[in-house]
């Protein structure tokens, strides 16, 4: 599951947020063609849906249901992300479908963060032991409500896993809290490097 629960990841600081808010025509928020909405997303999540910004998740290749569901939950305030609210608050159900189809159709690409080969074996063991593939698929490509974690940004994965463990992320299948229970920050680093490398 992606898109942070905490108010603002460091990289999504005031500068980025203001830039985007300024770029959004104020009058057209409620009625906006899908292409404009997609262009808005690209500002942070990448032109091709693969994020180049720290702790901003990549959306390319995410399961359609996952994107639709998370946009819905953000719009409704179940997942409270201040930085996302201007972009999601006026989304109609048709927009949710359109955006989820769009991101689902894009090709996921690794972020370019350096993958530490020393983390991969431990990461693979943890994926096995924690049965991540049961919901995220053995390829970690995700399905239905479980997001793609393969090729996701390393810094974002670590951030999201901590949020699940520490109970600051809502709007997910509650099994996820059992899946990360008792894991250390070091485990999350290993998991993130492994998933990003898939």
């Amino acid at each position: 599951m992606f898109l942070s629960q905490l108010p603002l990841p460091p990289a999504f600081g005031p500068a980025v947020a203001l830039l985007l808010l300024a770029a959004m025509p104020a009058s057209s928020a409620a009625e906006m063609p899908l292409s404009e909405r997609i262009a808005q997303c690209a500002g942070c999540h990448g032109e091709d849906g693969n994020s180049q910004l720290e702790k901003i998740p990549s959306l390319a290749g995410q399961p359609e249901f996952f994107v639709l569901n998370q946009l819905f939950l953000m719009r409704e305030g179940v997942r409270k992300i201040e930085a996302m609210m201007p972009f999601v608050k006026d989304l109609k159900d048709d927009d949710l479908s359109g955006l989820s189809k769009h991101f689902g159709s894009l090709a996921p690409k690794a972020s370019g963060e350096a993958v530490d080969p020393a983390q991969l074996q431990r990461g693979a063991e943890l994926v096995q032991a924690r049965r991540c593939g049961s919901c995220h698929l053995p390829t970690l490509a995700g399905q239905e409500q479980a997001p793609r974690i393969a090729k996701q940004r390393i810094d974002y994965l670590i951030y999201a896993l901590k949020a699940f463990r520490d109970g600051t992320r809502s709007g997910a299948e509650t099994l996820m809290s059992a899946s990360v229970a008792g894991m250390s920050d070091a485990d999350f680093v290993a998991l993130a490097h492994y998933a990003a490398s898939r």
């Binding site: 569901n69 409704e76 053995p138 099994l175 990360v180």
Partner: protein, 431 residues
């Protein structure tokens, strides 16, 4: 096998803290210690799940079914697939409320609906013979627990409790609720802690506290219980413990005993252990129902073991089937259905996820027997295609209307079905 029943009226204070730092912490793996060792050995993948799927010999890619956040279009709602006994009829009573599950009725006839992940509470009103559904509350964390008392709506989300007084007078603007979270002092765990709540015949508010895991050691003073409180959250008592997760209960109209569903563990095989329908026998309030050591009709857990696992455990009144996921449970007291449905429990089975061949997705009835057990019979079927191994809807909760008809919510389709009964036309008997 010991079938003796424990007689304990436990107050939480007597056992709080009993296991918290004990077995659970002791069994935690030390994942960073030996990075080059073999993958963490079974049993268990985390302190909150001691299961061993390879031993269960199930498809390891089974996963929970998602709930669509967008409702099914009315012409696609599978009401035509529903099959009922002769004389019963199903119709769409309302629709357009995605994820709607639990239902309670206000004194003025409003039906309130709780949800899980979607985070909404709906209010459904009657207008010109048609139902109108509106979003009353949103942005809550799994507000599945709803109860109604003296015109006040109680909303239990995960770890949050609110009361909206005179709610039916302010459906357009419910305003600020009275927050009772601190008074109820529920554990701050997430898994299996979306709530089911209901007022009992004693006017106490009964509250589910699930086991916060699939299968693990729990602190019986905190998790795996049914509690009861005064309506303001005071005077908590544990009414039953050793429960994995009950998300539906009701009181027998005559004996006033509490009957509850308990959904069995996952990753111990396609065959079960089967879900339970339990009864708290009179005088045995606070009794132990077996979790995590003893399941179903006395099956020892394969992963969390102790000697004599079923000693002192109250065994079920009936088994509800493997991974069936019984949610809503209602004893029928109306006058519309035939006499042999009086005081019979209707149970909505949400349907399996941790089972290769899907099971449930229906409504069954439980006929209480004089010896305290119950017999399970089919009632509403048709939402599961056995051949294709696909489901078309998920019956979730039940509500008896004042005319004696029965509402069944379908979480997947965002719809409510109304089940009514008309005696079959008497065919004129010759001579």
């Amino acid at each position: 096998m010991h079938h003796c029943m424990m007689r304990t009226a436990l107050l939480a204070g007597t056992v709080l803290g009993f296991v918290a730092a004990g077995p659970v912490a002791a069994q935690q793996p030390t994942p960073t210690a030996t990075p080059s060792a073999a993958p963490a050995a079974p049993p268990g993948f985390s302190p909150m799940d001691k299961s061993n799927p390879s031993a269960s010999q199930q498809d390891t890619n089974l996963k929970p079914h998602p709930t669509p956040p967008i409702a099914t279009a009315v012409d696609k709602i599978p009401v035509d697939k529903l099959k009922l006994p002769a004389g019963f009829k199903a119709e769409i009573w309302s629709h357009g409320h995605p994820g709607g599950r639990t239902m309670v009725e206000g004194p003025k006839g409003t039906i309130f609906m709780g949800t899980r992940v979607i985070g909404r509470v709906y209010a459904i009103t009657n207008k010109d013979g048609k139902r109108e559904a509106k979003v009353l509350l949103q942005g809550l964390t799994q507000p599945n627990g709803l109860a109604m008392k003296d015109g006040s709506l109680y909303v239990f989300a995960i770890n949050k409790v609110f009361r909206y007084d005179n709610i039916e007078d302010k459906l357009d603007n419910p305003g600020e609720p009275v927050e009772l979270t601190a008074k109820f002092n529920l554990p701050d765990t997430i898994h299996h802690n979306w709530k089911y709540v209901a007022f009992g015949p004693d006017n106490k508010l009964y509250v589910q506290v699930g086991s916060n895991c699939n299968i693990c050691e729990i602190n019986p003073g905190v998790h795996g219980q049914i509690r009861r409180y005064d309506a303001d959250g005071s005077n908590m008592e544990i009414m039953a413990r050793g429960i994995r997760n009950t998300v539906g209960f009701d009181w027998h109209p005559q004996t006033k005993e509490l009957w509850f569903n308990d959904n069995g563990r996952d990753w111990a095989g396609n065959a079960g252990p089967e879900d339970e329908l339990n009864r708290i026998p009179k005088g045995q309030e606070g009794a132990n129902f077996g979790f995590p050591y003893c399941h179903a009709n006395g099956i020892a857990d394969p992963d969390v073991k102790r000697p004599n696992p079923c000693a002192g455990v109250v065994l079920p009144a009936a088994l509800l089937g493997p991974h069936a996921a019984g949610l809503g449970l209602k004893f029928y007291t109306g006058s519309m259905f035939p006499k042999n449905y009086q005081n019979v429990a209707f149970i909505a089975r949400h349907g399996s996820w941790n089972r290769e061949k899907k099971f449930g997705y229906d409504v069954v009835i439980a006929r209480p027997q004089s010896n305290g057990t119950a017999k399970i019979e089919p009632f509403m079927t048709g939402l599961l295609d056995d051949q294709k191994n696909e489901f078309y809807g998920r019956p979730s909760y039940l509500l008896q209307m004042s005319d004696g008809s029965l509402l069944v919510s379908d979480e997947t389709n965002g719809a409510i079905y109304r089940i009514s009964y008309q005696p079959p036309q008497k065919t004129s008997r010759a001579h």
